[in-house]
């Protein structure tokens, strides 16, 4: 016999060894102990065909299908049983469980109520009340829970689903203290820590379980998710690949989960193929598809997917906020922006999220929409070390700085941005132009001032003629004027005047030209510039031109400046 090549080979050879040794028909119990439900099912069916009778054979078959995760089959089999006259009344509750896992909550409730009162029935109704968002019923069934392990664990799972992770952990830890043997509870605790963003703690607790059961699908998947959060997608994918490698090809359990996470770990690769069919199977699939569309800048598609989602988790609130913010700014809708701001505030202000990075980002976004830039900066500063080189972050960050008049730092941050789409955005250009205008003047060095003004001017020259470039001209003209950088102010007003005969622009140009004249007299501008000034003045038909030109020429003559 060859050494085992892969997972399945070694599994089947174990099987054979067992058989060869005992030379007996394998026992159902062996398969169940190994949780080899496919094996158990095959055996049961083989025995049924061979006429070997087993007690409750049908129930055993569904039991196996159920724990294999084949809820559709177990639902069908239980349904068939309920049609028989001598059907045990418990079967109705089991049917309810199968229906529950298929997401058929209404039917599940109907079936459960036909069963007899028992712990499972109460737990099922308890969970259904949670799904129905029926607080009153929820409390009722909560009362009925007994102080037995299963009921307490079921309660913990409700806490988990309601994002009350600490409460869930308390229950698990209490039970673990009573019985250390219950290894599976470590995984539940690890899941809670994962949800609370304590990935390394999660990893530690998880290791306890993996030590004794190294090939657990749920645990290995969780480990991969921890790696994703702690390190990167590559590390996570490696973990998941291990899991795939050790799984036999007939292994279908959690297949969707693994497919889904592979897309996540690969940064969205294959999202459009894999995620759409999973939207109603894995709750995260819809969110990830929305994220995918957002990354592709397809805001409409993102909105379509999420508009009907009633948010319950922070992630859902955040995503709804993000999509509404993007859409609101895109189409100029205040309603969307208002929703976005409220969601951001809700998440960022919540006790659980206020100290997380996304929570801080939410608060920053909220204040940004409120134009409270001082607060924006407080929040962005608190997380900026995580976003060095993040264009989106820097764009918002720089705007906030600029809005507060911190043009120097704003400009530095604006210039870190690499994304061409952002760099072509009017908001980017106009703020950068303004920053250029006001920066470095404290050095009071003429050439640096001019250099900055020139940068802004060149920014304008690079733009295509459009309403945006017109706005930039206005910005340059007025901002330069304010700073006494009359040369570029004059050029900008001159250009504006040619585009639009508004007397406003003439006044600006007039002032700027005289301003240059003044600078020349003060020795802060070269005398040759006067030639350009005269040329610009002559572009205007205003009668005042003659008067100003006369005085300038007179001065030039007196001072022997060649024109």
């Amino acid at each position: 016999m060859k050494p085992a090549v892969g997972g399945e080979t070694s599994a089947s050879s174990n099987e054979k060894k067992r058989k060869n040794k005992t030379k007996k028909t394998p026992k159902l119990e062996d398969y169940l102990n190994q949780r080899d439900y496919l094996g158990a099912l095959t055996l049961l069916e083989f025995q049924r065909n061979g006429g070997v009778s087993v007690d409750h054979e049908d129930l055993w078959i569904v039991y196996c299908a159920f724990h294999l995760g084949d809820h559709k089959r177990s639902m069908e089999e239980y349904k068939a049983m309920t049609l028989k006259p001598d059907c045990p009344v418990d079967v109705w509750v089991y049917l309810g469980c199968a229906l529950f896992f298929l997401g058929l909550y209404k039917e599940a409730e109907e079936a459960a109520l036909k069963g007899s009162k028992c712990q499972i029935q109460n737990r099922l109704l308890f969970h259904l009340a949670h799904k129905f968002n029926d607080e009153k019923k929820l409390m009722g069934f909560h009362q009925n829970l007994e102080d037995v392990t299963e009921d307490q664990l079921s309660l913990a799972s409700i806490h988990y689903m309601r994002s009350h992770y600490q409460e869930a952990i308390d229950i698990y830890k209490r039970i673990l203290l009573q019985n250390r043997e219950l290894l599976a509870l470590n995984v539940y605790v690890a899941l809670c820590y994962y949800k609370m963003d304590y990935y390394d703690v999660s990893q530690e607790v998880l290791a306890v379980y993996l030590q004794s059961i190294p090939d657990s699908t749920i645990a290995l998947n969780l480990k991969a998710c921890n790696h994703f959060r702690l390190y990167n997608g590559k590390a996570a994918e490696t973990e998941l690949k291990n899991l795939i490698d050790i799984s036999s090809s007939s292994f279908q359990f959690a297949k969707e989960l693994i497919q889904h996470n592979l897309v996540v770990f690969r940064g969205g690769e294959g999202a459009l193929q894999v995620l759409p069919p999973l939207i109603d199977v894995i709750p995260e699939a819809r969110l990830n598809l929305v994220i995918y569309y957002l990354r592709q800048d397809d805001i409409q598609e993102a909105y379509k997917l999420i508009k009907d989602l009633e948010p319950t988790t922070p992630q859902e609130y955040i995503l709804k906020g993000v999509v509404n913010a993007a859409l609101g700014q895109d189409i100029g809708s205040r309603d969307h922006l208002k929703i976005a701001q409220q969601f951001f505030q809700l998440v960022g202000g919540s006790a659980s999220e206020c100290d997380t990075i996304p929570g801080r980002q939410c608060m920053a976004a909220c204040f940004f929409l409120l134009k409270q830039f001082e607060d924006v900066l407080i929040y962005l500063n608190s997380v900026k070390s995580y976003f060095y080189n993040d264009d989106t972050f820097n764009f918002d960050y720089a705007q906030a700085k600029a809005a507060l008049g911190n043009y120097r730092e704003a400009e530095e941050v604006f210039l870190l941005i690499q994304n061409e789409k952002i760099k072509g955005d009017y908001v980017y250009l106009s703020w950068l132009a303004r920053c250029c205008r006001f920066n470095n003047v404290s050095l009071n060095l003429k050439d640096i001032m001019n250099q900055k003004a020139r940068q802004a001017w060149e920014l304008y020259l690079r733009m295509e003629t459009s309403s945006d470039s017109f706005s930039i001209l206005q910005l340059i003209a007025n901002d330069c004027y304010k700073m006494g950088q009359f040369y570029y102010a004059a050029k900008a007003f001159d250009a504006l005047e040619r585009l639009d005969q508004n007397p406003e622009y003439w006044e600006g140009k007039r002032g700027a030209c005289v301003g240059i004249f003044q600078l020349i007299l003060a020795g802060r501008e070269s005398r040759e510039t006067l030639k350009e000034v005269l040329a610009m003045l002559k572009n205007s038909g205003n009668p005042q031109v003659e008067y100003i030109i006369r005085i300038m020429k007179k001065w030039a003559k007196d001072n022997r400046v060649l024109l």
């Binding site: 997972g7 080979t9 080899d36 737990r123 599976a184 994220i291 208002k338 996304p358 409120l370 001065w555």
Partner: protein, 359 residues
Amino acid sequence: MERSGRQKIQLTSNQPYDESFDVNADDADSVHTPTPRQIVSRRTERQKQSTMASYTGSKLEDDTKRKKEPPGSRGTKENEDDDEEEEEEEDDDEDDDDDDDSDDTESDEEEGEPGSAPEGAYDPADYDHLPVTAEIKEVFQYITRYTPQTIDLDHKLKPFIPDFIPAVGDIDAFLKVPRPDGKPDNLGLLVLDEPCTKQSDPTVLSLWLSENSKQHNVTEMKVKSIENPERNLKAIDNWIESISELHRSKPPATVHYTRAMPDIDSLMQEWPSDFEELLGKVNLPTADIDCSLAEYVDIICGILDIPVYKNRIHSLHVLFTLYSEFKNSQHFKSVEGQKSDTPSASHIATAELDRLTLD
């Protein structure tokens, strides 16, 4: 006078982000079309300074008590109380405000605080010393005749896009069916309630079971098929491995000959060279020759040195064993072309099943 006029404007502008507050809702997407003049509201300290540093400082204080901080930090605190209303009013009230404000000209606090307005803003006083003619001085007034506008710039929030979210699945809710025999299964307690990763292959297991139990009643099973075989090499290899495993483990057929039969090895010895030579020229008789099956068996067994007694079955068994030996011999494999072997009769039913369809 002109200056004071400007100043008022600045006043209003002092609270640049007034609207921002409750606004969010309404004003969030600021639709500022920068039309000249209109948007004076945002007149910032810069401007004030540019016009008259001294005035601005004082005004700041008066206007907004909140703004105690150095103007450099540019109090962003908006009047939370007065929202847009105020904002809207601004334009209308401007004049009024102006009057009020213009009066208070207090000491310039600002001078000391460089941050308030961009440093280096134009200040006509810097040029007062220039020795120029009255004519030129007059022309210089054009500079302050134009008030540069503060152009409001739009802000655009680029919302952060969250990371992709991995799924960890649900936590065990203990909604599970118990074992039919009522024994505890400890699923979800000692171990997670999940199937183990190594599940038996139902087809292979069925074959094993039928082999072990000698019941060949698995005919209703489907022939297993694999999708995308080119990408599923592992599955194919595993299949081949487990099926050949199955075949190898089947008990070899043993037949007890009633009469002595020669050893297979001796039957496999080379023929004399002249006979080999002859075979090059003459073919062995094929099944087409005109004789009965029994006679044909006798002929072939004769050629191969297999004795034929009463019962030809035993001789035939030796014949096929010999064939099988040759076929499986490494030495002859290269010589002989591959021939398919026929499934043994007893396994016709299951023969189909150990085939794997490659779609």
